[in-house]
Chain length 320, copies 2
């Protein structure tokens, strides 16, 4: 019980306490938020040994990633983060030092994206897991980015890099330390993914018709958009960006770089569809926050997702 | 993968889809809520074999309880449920029939308390767990019930029964089927706890100074109130209600009935502090919704929680 008190105290030290717009949170049953408009909620969990291999990722990396994947879900619907509530599922070996490291990682990510880390719960569980609920606010209360708005004639574009995280994970698993040091962006993309929070406002402002964050892999995630919208998506292989690190990893691993970029997961890029006449606006709005969109293909009548005619809608990273 | 699609389809069938005030939820990355005022968030998780023994509770019971404990957290701060988002941590043995049963239980509880069951996530995990985030709205946007408002001179009262769930669990564990059939309320209290959602409005309207839901056991939970408020709580043993089933269980188990009522957990009663001059209002407001409060003792200067002078603040059910 002394251990439990110390652990809860370590967690409490790393949470944001009472403050404007957040009268409760740390030691009470619930958190109260003053949200100016509609509130957006998302939940996601990371499980030790399923989503994260602790011989590759530290507990701080796990904490960071748990926040990042949730904040990315908010960005995908056009929302900015306000607060995160954490449920820690904690095995008996998890002690106060583990708690400090895990919550330091969460705190670091939460601060990066202006998300308050508030109360939550810790429960005993044989498997370590971090389950997070995030609340956000819409950039524009009249605009929710959905998966079902893609229309034939729209262009398909992606904001952010593809394949880095999958390449990083596979290089770690294969013990290719030399390539990991030559391309530090690969390991970083796997361990500390960057949610594209800054993209939410430009995407909302420029009239994209559908949006999804790429977590299962570009092929599968565009498959969700195609299914929800009742359309087909056709991508051109030559337009798919292959970062140099992904090309190097693919060569070493004997893989097709496209497989990492289209079938790999955990990218947290944002894939969008946009009418051609809005593309210039989108590019300008993204450039204003230091981002860019790359056009990969187009939306057409039909079903499925293809790259140069080959189906990739089911080829994404199997979702755990 | 076919199994995964069938499982997700079974879950989707049991969720509330798009509707007024909830444009997203099931197949999108996030849910959007129109909340008239401030939004209240709570999270809690139930873990198989830690919180629930499936030789006692069905998966439907687990689902019900996961919703009940979260909705109870909302009631404790003076809020009513709006929507629940579920993260299912799912082992490989968990199949589509298990999903149907679990989500049927959640759906039943959610409907009982007017809570929409919206999207969420399923992730692979060796241990079965249901992690829930609930969003609610305050009964009165100007009133948040907290743990830190108890003042010397206030009375301590409880709404709801104490000890039933602990008695039910211990009778199940000891195999006392005869007593469980003679007192079906004991098993029901453990398997299908009833959150006192209807109490939120009366508690807010009648000026209670502090409130907590009794999950760890009355002693420990009033300990949280005493610590947060900087006061002592003194209870009288003779005023503690011992339901007949709890008395019968205690006799069979060779336990002090007070130990079950004060030290047992999982009651989801609401413990409150209230100025003496507001007690009549409180009783009337609760009576209007078919509930009542029983005065157990009073708040005094000092620290700790006692029953007839004996410390019980640390004697609650060890929180898992």
């Amino acid at each position: 019980v002394v251990g439990e008190f110390a652990l809860l105290a370590a967690i409490r030290d790393r949470l944001d306490g009472d403050g404007p717009g957040l009268p409760l949170g740390v030691d009470d049953d619930a958190a109260v938020l003053d949200v100016p408009g509609r509130v957006v909620l998302a939940v996601d969990a990371l499980v030790d040994d399923v989503h994260v291999d602790r011989s590759i990722s530290s507990l701080a990396d796990l904490g960071w990633k748990a926040i990042a994947v949730n904040v990315s879900d908010l960005a995908a619907v056009g929302a900015l983060p306000l607060a995160a509530l954490v449920t820690l599922l904690r095995p008996s070996w998890f002690d106060v030092d583990h708690a400090r490291e895990l919550y330091d990682g969460m705190r670091e990510a939460a601060q990066r994206w202006d998300c308050r880390l508030v109360g939550g719960d810790t429960v005993s569980c044989p498997t370590l897991s971090v389950s997070i609920a995030v609340a956000g606010r819409l950039v524009d209360d009249a605009v929710v980015l959905r998966r079902d708005g893609a229309r034939p004639g729209d262009l398909v574009a992606v904001v952010g890099d593809l394949g880095l995280a999958a390449a990083g994970l596979e290089l770690h698993q294969g013990g290719h330390a030399d390539l990991l040091s030559a391309h530090p962006e690969l390991s970083a993309a796997h361990r500390r993914p960057v949610a594209l929070v800054e993209a939410a406002e430009p995407l909302v402002a420029s009239g994209v018709t559908a949006c999804i964050d790429v977590s299962d892999g570009l092929g599968r995630d565009l498959g969700h958009v195609a299914r929800a919208s009742g359309v087909a998506v056709h991508l051109d292989a030559e337009r798919l960006p292959i970062p140099p690190g992904v090309a190097a990893a693919a060569a070493r691993l004997g893989r097709d770089p496209l497989e990492l970029a289209v079938g790999g997961g955990d990218d947290y890029a944002l894939a969008v569809t946009v009418p051609p006449d809005r593309l210039e606006d989108l590019a300008a709005a993204l450039a204003a926050v230091g981002l860019s969109a790359r056009v990969l293909g187009e939306v057409a009548p039909g079903t499925g997702v293809t790259v140069d005619g080959r189906d990739v809608a089911t080829a994404g990273w199997e979702h755990h």
